[in-house]
């Protein structure tokens, strides 16, 4: 059962990263460990920030192929 749950979590992570949204829990864990006391974006803020980063083209990044 645990294994299934783990696989499901990986599948969800993959699907989200395919459209440019990394794992939110990992982000929160990173902020708590490495930047304690500093603000952490809520999930909606995090989502918007990632959306802008993926499609904003600042820096000339190309996110998809022919």
């Amino acid at each position: 059962m645990d294994r299934l749950r783990h696989l499901w979590r990986r599948a969800v992570q993959t699907a989200r990263l395919m459209v440019g949204v990394p794992d939110y829990d990992t982000y929160v864990a990173h902020r708590t460990t490495h930047h304690p006391g500093e603000p952490i974006m809520s999930y909606p803020e995090f989502f918007r920030e990632r959306q802008r980063a993926r499609y904003g083209c600042e820096g000339g990044r190309i996110s998809g192929c022919c």
Partner: protein, 684 residues
């Protein structure tokens, strides 16, 4: 390696050899597509295990303990150490697109064998090598982009020249992909309606994901997919109701103008409203359909109707002009080697690599999967009747506009087909005509509909499957058009910004409007020229696209070669030198032939010459219909010639710079590659 493992790999090798033998040597009788699948999978397995890992471990010397940018700059956002399988999915979704689906379909005019052999050889020795090595270089340079790396390793001039090359490729790709959509949707109310529906559906998803349930990607995608399915099914009603069909029936030029306008509006709208939600739909649909296609081929294991080699191997084919060398090698770009991937491999992926150990799996392995998509596209094009294939892929200038005339011409070419078969094929997929639907997408859609409907639904569902396949391709091409216009805009702003600094600010609305208009104008002009081109547009423009894409690959591989020398690993330099030399030979020959060939079918200048002479004597040459059209044909010939010449000079400049840098590196006794960070990981 233990004895059982050795035996296992020996068995894989024998299986692959037998399958390839059957595919290559069977004459007269149709071959089952499964042999093609088995041959490719065996080759991929052997290539990955014995060449991909060899390059990673011996040539590049990946160091699993070396700290990656994902750890060095970990911010939980751009730089995140990510599980290898998850990142593989991300990388594959980014490199997979319309390219590997369209190229093989067009290459099938020479039979399935030449294209298949190039897909397999190309990916193993060039495409996958490029993707993996650029990923490696970027991982060792904090995830910097290809342009940045060329600038720092090969100098600013080479960097700027390569940058112009990228802009050129971007414009040509957008024009060609938009052309594929136009050809698929012209006079097709069902297709046009379904594709048009994706815009309001995306708006709805965008609003849902921003205000109603912020960031619920799964929910919004599920809602979007259901609505899309409804639009797909209702499309049939639209097509069968003349009053409704009227609003969704467009000729090519009208569609071209619509798409150009769409590209402009979409690229200035906020990303969350249209681009992002449609990207979600198209990404999931793309990956899902590719998986479905693989499953369909496995279950249906269809027979290949197309001969292994056709008479058009001599270069007289109607789909695109030119002989096997060099034109086959540029027709199939993405499935064998695609320069575009070097931009992806130096994009987001290197910032998320957990350990250098994953580089072979993600870079080399990701490209092998892309190549398998190309093999499936080749199967899709080969399972339909060759007569139908040629009727679909030849321009109206060659086969006329009636089924009777088209059947006559195609039968004369040696592919016996009756007018009834052509009308029946159109009827099966719910269209009024399938003639001259060039661009590969409709052909692949017929192939996919044939495969899917033989598994599920039979003839009654064939029309739904066809329009599903059209929708799937149009959806992600339009996403590319939108995203690509933004990238072009950025590059134009960057280039022009050197002269007019105020133009550089990407936050100013005026700049964005002007930038978007400029980039739409650039690709839009090429698109329009392609749409009114009586040869069907693809005939002229696909080779241009393929050549520029391969040239970017040659540039990326030149960078890899230079860095290998700078790392003092010249012992292994042949790994990149061989594919670089091959690509430079192919693309430069193709480019020069496109410009200077005395055959007006191949060379732009001689074609222009022929038309100029006719124009001078007030004569109208087919396919032009008036003197004014004649002048336009001539102008476009010169434009295309200039683009091809520009591409050739770009690749030559970069290669010359590469040779100079290699000589410098050889003369220096120490390592001169500019890597960032060499410290071992200090984490668990």
């Amino acid at each position: 390696m233990s004895t059982p493992k050795k035996l296992l790999w020996a068995a894989v090798a024998v299986l692959g050899a037998v399958a390839l033998g059957i595919v290559a040597l069977q004459r007269g009788e149709p071959v089952n597509a499964m042999w093609l699948v088995i041959a490719s999978l065996s080759i991929y397995a052997i290539a990955y295990r014995f060449y991909g890992l060899f390059i990673a471990n011996r040539v590049l010397g990946v160091n699993p303990t070396r700290q990656t940018p994902a750890y060095r700059h970990n911010d939980g956002l751009d730089y995140v150490p990510t599980n290898g399988y998850v990142l593989y999915g991300h990388h594959f979704a980014a490199i997979a697109g319309a390219g590997p689906l369209v190229g093989p379909v067009l290459a099938a005019q020479m039979g399935y064998l030449p294209g298949t052999l190039w897909i397999l050889a190309g990916v193993v020795f060039a495409g996958a090598v490029q993707d993996m090595m650029v990923l490696f270089l970027s991982t060792r340079r904090d995830g910097r982009s290809l342009g940045d790396m060329i600038r720092s390793e090969m100098g600013p001039v080479a960097g700027t020249v390569a940058g112009i090359g990228v802009l050129l490729i971007c414009v040509i790709i957008l024009a060609v992909l938009a052309l594929v959509v136009v050809n698929a949707l012209k006079s097709s109310p069902w297709g046009t309606f379904t594709v048009a529906c994706t815009i309001p559906i995306a708006f709805l998803m965008g609003v849902y994901g921003r205000f109603i349930r912020p960031g619920r990607i799964g929910e919004m995608s599920a809602i979007g997919a259901l609505l899309l399915l409804a639009a797909l099914i209702f499309g049939r009603t639209v097509a069968e109701t003349p009053a409704l069909a009227h609003y969704f029936t467009f000729a090519g030029p009208q569609l071209a103008v619509l798409i150009i306008g769409y590209g402009f509006v979409a690229s200035v709208l906020p990303v969350w409203l249209l681009l992002a939600p449609r990207d979600y739909l198209s990404t999931f649909l793309k990956v899902g359909t590719v998986a479905l296609l693989a499953l369909g081929v496995l279950i249906a294991h269809p027979q290949l109707q197309m001969p292994a080699v056709t008479r058009f191997i001599d270069g007289s084919g109607p789909v695109w002009a030119g002989s096997v060398f060099p034109f086959l090698f540029i027709t199939i770009a993405c499935g064998a080697v695609s320069g575009w991937h070097s931009l992806i491999s130096s994009g987001t992926t290197p910032k998320m690599i957990e350990s250098e150990r994953q580089i072979a799996f993600i870079g080399y392995g990701g490209m092998l999967t892309e190549s398998f998509v190309a093999i499936m596209a080749m199967i899709g094009a080969s399972v339909i009747h060759p007569g139908v294939y040629f009727a679909m892929n030849s321009g109206a200038g060659l086969i006329g506009t009636t089924a009777a005339h088209a059947a006559d011409v195609v039968t004369q070419w040696g592919f016996t087909v009756t007018p009834d078969m052509l009308t029946q094929a159109a009827h099966d997929v719910g269209e009024t005509s399938i003639l001259s639907r060039t661009g590969g997408a409709p052909t692949l859609a017929v192939g996919m509909a044939t495969i899917f409907s033989s598994v599920l639904g039979g003839r009654s569902l064939m029309a739904i499957w066809y329009h599903f396949a059209i929708l799937f391709e149009a959806l992600f091409i339009l996403t590319t058009v939108d995203a690509g216009t933004r990238v072009c805009r950025f590059m134009i702003q960057d280039l022009v910004g050197h002269a007019v600094p105020a133009f550089k600010s990407t936050r100013a609305w005026g700049n964005n409007l002007i930038g978007s208009a400029l980039s739409c104008l650039l690709w839009g002009y090429l698109l329009y020229a392609g749409v009114v081109d009586p040869y069907g547009g693809i005939w002229t423009m696909w080779p241009l696209f393929g050549a520029t894409n391969q040239m970017l690959a040659a540039i990326a591989l030149t960078l890899c070669t230079v860095v290998l020398y700078k790392m003092k690993r010249e012992r292994w330099a042949w790994v990149t030198v061989v594919p670089t030399v091959w690509l430079v030979i192919c693309t430069v020959t193709a480019g020069l032939e496109k410009v200077f060939s005395p055959n007006p079918k191949v060379g732009f200048l001689s074609h222009a010459e022929k038309f100029s002479q006719a124009l001078a004597s007030q004569q109208v040459l087919a396919p032009a219909k008036s003197l004014q059209e004649m002048s336009r044909v001539i102008f476009n010939d010169y434009l295309d010639a200039a683009l091809a010449a520009l591409a050739v000079s770009i690749v030559i400049v970069v290669v010359v710079y590469g040779i100079v840098r290699v000589r410098q590196a050889r003369a220096t006794p120490r390592v001169t590659a500019i890597e960032i960070g060499g410290a071992a990981m200090d984490h668990g």
